[in-house]
Symmetry: C2
Subunit: 650 residues, 2 copies
């Protein structure tokens, strides 16, 4: 499958990735960007003087001397950057970028130890602690990111060295971990190796890597005291990361054996990375039990623990899930990486089962919580994606120091910016899914694709007004004589839709959010029209934070209000059933957005008395006002500013 | 002034203090109560194995050997207990209790060092660190509590030893602290010595103690690096209390010179203790500047930073104030001690200026936030007094571990229970205030008082239905011929009131919430009738947490809903302008309370679809329901239970 994106909306982002994000991030990784690295929250233990990520590799490689700086997982910033570079090169070859990236591969190769071990912190600072404190070490987490980058880079460039390094690393891990006597029967505190090994397996078809990934999955939670035992044995009592001790076992999903975990618990990014690998391994090894475990957690997230923006993680403490329907808008976490991970998870679920809901969640997270992770300039990033921000709270309420009202240039823990870069750069992989002789569409955007089916080639060109209009045309043509399948997702937000095949209205089979065509495609045109209008959403009544409030959407976008458009004190705004909406695409606003104007009300700011509490003697004074809403992803691009997704509704 | 409380409502509490709280607390302090000591929040550094408070004194006295256990300020639990015992003995002499308390005084005397120093932690564990790390040491905090206890105990019993110990301690502090060269020019991290010294001054009239108190007040914030400098000099780098380092300078009000502090900042208990001493010293030394500083902070608290229950402190992090109008209901702190301290502050302000608002706030904090600090049995205590509790949140949201749904038997940091005991035991001191030849009433309850005025004796008997009815009769009689003054507070919640003098309606002078009588009282009866009805309150529109909500009160009581009466999910309850209220006093409910029943609505818990977000196609379904409200102080006496003060209102 190859897909070339020709879309204006996403094309702009992908060109930002190539022309701005990747060079910018390369400068940051080399400590030559003149930027201010912010701590993601008020915690002095977060390193924020510099990145030092490339320098760490140079020191490990023996090219320079000095000490490791940054988190124990600092290497992963380089790997995620390299992975993003790979997708970009595949899409749009560039000798200069290729040269830099090849150089990085060489550097990583030099930093790799003789036995295949790769990890600059432990090579430089603590070789005696390798694999000794997996709860905190992130060694396999970093290794997983390298494997992902290596597979992508090999796929894009055919660079042999990168895949050799990857195999040596995977083999090193395989020698140290497993069920066999003498091997370590445990997993990493942060899931990711499981994903990396799956990707290496898909590329190499080497069963050992699949089995090792499955081992890491199934060993999780088998012995929930594994991390504590390792810690007791570690002679060096200094933690590798301050403060992780205080989190419960569920923080890294070791509170129960994997198959018994029914709810989304602990650190949100870890959980969705775990689920991504589970769903991938379930499909690859036809493991129904694993798939059912994925489905239970999926249902729990989607039915009870996901924000309307596709954000996940309800608390900053442990960057974690909390409990069903607990979705506070102003203290949540909603880490950018968690939404990126949710997209990975949704995609892997689609590989197991064609079901519109997976695509709906993927779309929701992509167009909203994930995309909000970066500024329109591609050079400022959110770690945390709140649904309600009052800048004074972020500044003066120590419990909200993580809720930043503007995107920093870089972050002490820089996991999110390169994660977003690799997602956007690989977006062409998320538009369709090919299953044997069936292609199923996931995302709608202008693009041209070619699929190598078992029976022959299928070419699809997509022409659409998406995300601003609900018409999508697919031009399909195949070079074989046998019938092929094509499935189109009906977005969950669309109440009504029409389907035309070559200009004639048709009613194809519809199942689980998809419609299906089976035919021999010969210059066929399928035209979908989804009713795209402004919609008002309520949350389930059990969601305390949203009771008496509504969210506004149009198409894939969730909207929000900002004080720059609506004045201070957004909590005083109100809509009701008389509220009418007007939608206009504005080319000049925020790089081009669809603006929604709603007739609504504003509660008077001053009461007759200035006292803190007053007797309600009459109706609260409401003034008619126009409420201006913009897509959530575009917020915080106009300075420090209040923002709210959920608006009071009566 | 002597006052004898004959009131049923308060009499019950005072008998609980004497018969239950004090013996119970004595057992706890001696580690012979079979109880479960809970940490006040999820923080492993909080000591909770035992109290050990008396044992610490025995070790310091040389009667036993061993180590100090508990907080560095553990001694203060004993002092506050002793102070409560003193008030109880004054009101109701009891030889057995007196004997125990005399024994405690002897023990404290033995624990005191030769130079007057008193503080078991430093005597036992770290004599070399005395006064070396005042930011954390609480040495002067404990000393202040001892001085308060000593003055009260001497007043009640005439025990000479206790006042000798107090003088030696105060003199020791006087030798170490002050403006003179060689003395320490700094204050304690936790205010309290300033209050203790003022009380010792009022008893002894020794100017040195007033001056020392004023020194501690004025030195605060003069050099905001004082604590840091001390810490640098301290050879022992172990903190005395874990984690205090991370708080800003405002945590202990050293961020600005005292007179420049315009807003209530930092740790709420510290701030109101500071203000209590400031207001007392301002009155004693006719210091207008100090009084104005008090007034600025008072205005800020009362106009912008106080909960409707009289609770203060908006965040658990640093147990602190945050910013204007930031009054979250479910994450707040509202420490019991902070409301007790606010009562002290209000009382001292009344000494400076007769103004109804001071009495209103005193009443609000007393009947609501402070009283909620203990269970009806007198043996379970809240540290934190939330305005909204969902037990599942307290359990599963790590950011709400401090919001307990039921009162523990004792707390790792046990400052609140004995603080409440001393407040209740000394309540007779807060009913009236005598200013030369004027008596001003503050609280309404059945009691008999005698005042030694400059001109002669005045006897007042108060007869009232309060807190359940708005009629208060004052029977006044004096034994001198000259005109005396009597001022009566008109509660801020009363819209209308009538005044009768000897059965005739009169309209006396009214000023700042007080009405005034000047006459020669000869068997006179003043009958006040305050209109006491169910009232609905709104918060100022800037209070985000309360927008679209209402609080219910009747008389001095703020009401709340509990799920034991109203079913789970209190956030689904709603009132509107059609809501009607019915009030009934129920003898059998919760030891006798006034119950309010309101006609209201409940949003349906199940929407047609079980999905997390759904399109609003029709009005939200509301079912008519009866909402039952009880006084806030009585909540959490019927097991684990949801509670809410602010109810949705339309």
């Amino acid at each position: 499958m190859t897909t070339r994106i020709t879309d204006q909306f996403w094309g702009r982002y992908r060109s930002i990735v190539k022309n701005d994000m990747l060079p910018y991030q390369w400068d940051v990784l080399n400590d030559r960007a003149d930027i201010n690295i912010e701590r993601e929250r008020n915690d002095n233990s977060i390193p924020n003087e510099k990145s030092h990520a490339i320098a760490n590799f140079k020191i490990a490689a023996g090219r320079e001397t000095g000490h490791h700086y940054g988190w124990v997982f600092q290497d992963s910033d380089v790997y995620k950057w390299l992975e993003a570079v790979a997708y970009t090169l595949k899409d749009d070859p560039d000798n200069k970028l290729r040269e830099i990236a090849d150089g990085v591969v060489d550097l990583i190769g030099e930093a790799q130890e003789e036995d295949g071990y790769l990890g600059t912190y432990f090579s430089i600072e603590a070789p005696e602690r390798k694999f000794m404190r997996l709860s905190e070490s992130h060694e396999l987490y970093c290794a997983g990111h390298f494997l992902e980058a290596a597979v992508a880079y090999y796929d894009a460039t055919g660079n042999q060295k990168v895949i050799e390094i990857a195999r040596r690393l995977a083999d090193c891990i395989d020698r140290h971990f497993g069920r066999e006597q003498g091997k370590i029967q445990g997993c990493d505190g942060h899931e990711e190796i499981e994903i990396g090994l799956m990707r290496l397996y898909h590329l190499t078809k080497e069963e050992r890597y699949l089995n090792l990934s499955r081992f890491f999955l199934y060993v999780r939670g088998e012995d929930s005291s594994f991390f504590e035992k390792q810690k007791q044995k570690d002679i060096n009592k200094n933690p590798l990361i301050q403060g992780l001790d205080k989190f419960p076992l569920s923080y890294c999903q070791i509170h129960e054996p994997l198959l018994e975990q029914n709810t989304a618990e602990g650190h949100a990014v870890r959980l969705v990375y775990l689920c991504t690998a589970m769903a991938d391994a379930a499909q690859a090894s036809h493991d129904e039990k694993l798939l059912n475990a994925c489905k239970k957690i999926w249902r729990n997230i989607v039915d009870k623990r996901m924000y309307v923006t596709g954000g996940i993680g309800s608390t900053v403490i442990g960057e974690s899930f909390t409990f069903d329907y607990d979705l506070p808008n102003d203290t949540m976490y909603c880490e950018t990486c968690a939404s990126v991970g949710l997209i990975f998870f949704a995609y892997q679920m689609l590989k197991n089962e064609i079901c519109g809901e997976y695509g709906d969640v993927l779309e929701r997270a992509l167009y909203n919580s994930a995309l909000a992770g970066m500024a329109l300039d591609g050079k400022h990033f959110f770690y945390v994606n709140p649904l309600e921000v009052k800048p004074e709270s972020s500044q003066k309420d120590p419990g909200k120091s993580h809720v930043k009202p503007v995107r920093p240039e870089w972050l002490g823990c820089a996991c999110c910016p390169p994660n977003l870069a690799r997602l956007l750069a690989s977006l062409h992989n998320y538009i369709y899914l090919q299953k044997e002789n069936m292609v199923c569409s996931i995302l709608f955007m202008n693009c041209e694709s070619e699929f190598d089916m078992t029976k022959g080639k299928l070419r699809i060109r997509q022409e659409t007004e998406y995300p601003y209009g609900g018409t999508v045309k697919f031009y399909l043509d195949q070079d074989c004589k046998e019938e092929l399948g094509f499935a189109i997702r009906i977005p969950g937000w669309a109440d009504q839709f029409t389907v035309k095949l070559n200009g004639q209205i048709v009613e194809p089979k519809k199942e689980k959010g998809y419609i299906y065509f089976y035919k021999c495609f010969t210059n066929d045109v399928i035209e979908m029209t989804f009713e795209m209008k402004v919609e008002l959403w309520a949350a389930h009544p059990m969601v305390r934070a949203d009771v008496g409030k509504a969210a506004v959407s149009r198409g894939p976008f969730i909207y929000c209000v900002e004080s720059v458009d609506n004045g201070e004190n957004l909590h005083l705004l109100k809509m009701d059933k008389r509220t009418e909406f007007q939608y206009d695409y504005e080319e000049e606003t925020l790089g081009g957005i669809g603006v929604i104007r709603a007739s609504g009300y504003r509660q008077c700011q001053k009461e007759e008395s200035e006292s803190l509490y007053y007797k309600m003697r009459k109706d609260i004074d409401l003034i008619e006002t126009q409420i201006k809403l913009i897509p959530y992803y575009a917020w915080a691009n106009r300075g420090v500013n209040e923002m709210q997704v959920w608006v009071r509704y009566n």
